[in-house]
Amino acid sequence: MSGDRDAEGVGAGDPLRVVPTDAPPSGACRRKGSFTPSLTLMGEHDLCPGCGEPLALRQILDSIEALGQAQRAIGVVGIGCYTALTSLMDVDLIQALHGRAPSVATGAKRMRPECLLFTLQGDGDMVNEGLQEVIHTAARGENVTCILLNNGVFGETGGHMTATTVLGQRTKNSIEGRDARLHGHPILIGDLLARLDGTAYVARASVHDAAGVARTRRFLDRAFTSQLKGQGFSFVEILTMCPTGWFIPTAEGPGYLDRELGAVHEVGELKKDGVLVGG
């Protein structure tokens, strides 16, 4: 996976470090921090073991808390496995229809410009059912942050092909692997949105390892900060594991995500302060 679009690389300033475990614990490993997740109401959830979505959610909530926005945030949630997480999120929420979170966030932001508005959507939700609305919301430069949890499948319905499923990926309705001649090509939604004039910040992250989780958090911080500065539409796509929907053992999820989805949906920042990165 190429990380070179993330200009600052992994390491410096990361909230979470990768600590070598082939030697006795060093100081960094003994350092004690609070591991109680911010802004959560329950210590458990109903998603599958090995699912990447709770990892991504935690970064979102931590970022909101760290930016001092806990009492100003409004989340608009789509329909997918992550919908079940709403019962444990301790921020104000509006539950939207499948695909329709960006329009709902738009209306809410127009009436409450002082609030931090974000959407939480899956690839099926955003890139299949609701593609036109995220594009128009971005093109209008709505000052909201749309967050995509991209696992390349409809996880909730049981592992079906979405618009972001990569070529060769096996799903319940592309049993032999996605074939461009039969199923068309995947949409790289971050790349598409980055090219619209209304977007201020666009990045793609992945939660397949600790460094990726740290990078996810950094990108979320930047997207929210961009909204707080009133720069326009911001977007963070987070690649998440779905071992259940991919029909692979749980432990193989992170490797599969990095190798297969990560090779096509490349991690990195695509647009900052309204300027395309490397363009």
């Binding site: 409004i74 019962s87 509006i94 539950q95 939207a96 709902v104 738009t106 209306g107 009436m111």
Partner: protein
């Protein structure tokens, strides 16, 4: 230009937009379609001056989504379209009802063929919402303001059923803000999201799927049954109608919206001829004023259902009367070649002719009224 309380000639679309703004509406979104378009135009021109927002949405799907988001923050918000656009909005209409979000939706319909869509809960699932049908621009001004009050009163969507004539006829009206809340105080909007309860353990989730913070699963009693019970209370409390000349009527015409206005003129002529004809006009299409209709029809030989469609409201009329009085349809499909619903049926003389037939027990012509 600001809202004026002085009486002046105003096109229906402008009057409705002004009435909505007078009622505190600060958000509107829509997608152009005849005869709804001018409503969108007026909101687009006026709302920014009032500190509000009007969005030219990418489709009706997003128009109602945007109004949903605005209303969920506690703002008074509205959207609208024409029947076809309303069809696209139905998934949201259903869910907004279930999420108990107050919102006002205008259907500037092409004729009266959207009666079923408006009154049956046009989307999926088990729900109804309030539907009000004004017969004139003046009444639309009042009903528009009342709609925002009722939406907040019940935390329920209210649909206003208008048409080409309501949207495009200019009538002398004044837009005076009507105070409904002094007589009927509104509950606080403490359910609306403003972000402030984040991190307190009491944050909200305005949602249509029965999710509750801190717990899993849906309790059917607290969710579906509670909504159904609320709809029963609305049905009992919010029936509206007008009854004219029903005391001695032998024939009762039932008609709603602008068509009722033509019926009113027809009845004047029929009365002058000595025929005892009355008018019953449902103003709330849901809840349908069934008991009032039964009272109005008592003593009539026949009830004539006048509607500009193939026969939809007649179901509600027959359900209300339960065979106690024969019900005959005297309307029908009637439109201009563009399909905007301006048909030959919108004519007092033609309606009088059909009512005369019904009065004397003659057969009323069926098929397209041209």
């Amino acid at each position: 230009m600001t809202a004026s309380t002085e009486r002046r000639l105003m096109e229906g679309s402008e009057a409705i937009a002004e009435a909505a703004i007078a009622a505190g509406c600060r958000f509107f979104s829509g997608y152009p379609m005849t005869p709804f378009t001018e409503l969108l135009e007026h909101f687009a021109r006026r709302l920014p001056d009032e500190g509000g927002a009007c969005i030219n949405a990418e489709s009706e799907l997003e128009a109602i989504g945007q109004a949903w988001g605005a209303a969920a923050t506690g703002a008074r918000a509205a959207t609208g379209s024409t029947g076809q656009g309303l069809s696209l909005m139905q998934e949201s209409m259903s869910e907004i009802t279930r999420a108990e979000i107050p919102i006002v939706v205008f259907n500037m319909a092409r004729g009266q063929g959207d009666y079923y869509q408006a009154t049956r809960g046009g989307g999926h699932g088990d729900y109804r919402h309030i539907v009000l049908a004004p017969e004139s621009v003046g009444e639309a001004v009042r009903i528009t303001q009342e709609a925002f009050h009722l939406a907040d009163r019940w935390r329920h969507p209210v649909l206003i059923y208008g048409d080409y004539l309501i949207a495009h006829t200019a009538e002398a009206v004044s837009i005076e803000p009507i105070d409904f809340a002094t007589k009927d105080p509104l509950p606080p909007k403490d359910w609306a999201v403003d972000g402030r309860l984040g991190g307190t353990g009491r944050s909200r989730n305005v949602n249509p799927i029965g999710m509750e913070k801190g717990s899993k699963g849906i309790d059917p009693n607290r969710f579906w049954q509670a909504l159904s019970d609320k709809e029963d209370r609305i049905a009992a409390a919010e029936q509206r109608w007008e009854a004219i000349g029903t005391e001695d009527a032998e024939l009762l015409i039932v008609a709603f919206g602008t068509l009722a206005r033509f019926a009113r003129a027809a009845i004047r002529d029929l009365r002058a001829e000595g025929l005892r004809v009355g008018l019953f006009r449902p103003i709330s299409l849901w809840p349908f004023p069934s008991e009032a209709l039964v009272r109005a029809a008592a003593g009539c030989r026949r009830v004539a259902c006048l509607e500009q469609n193939a026969g939809q409201m007649i179901d509600d009329v027959r359900l209300a009367l339960l065979g106690s009085v024969p019900v005959v349809p005297i309307g029908g499909i009637s439109t201009d070649p563009a399909g905007f619903g301006i048909g030959a049926l919108l004519d007092a003389e033609r309606i009088a002719g059909r009512a005369r037939d019904a009065y004397h027990g003659r057969e009323v012509p069926r098929g397209v009224v041209a």
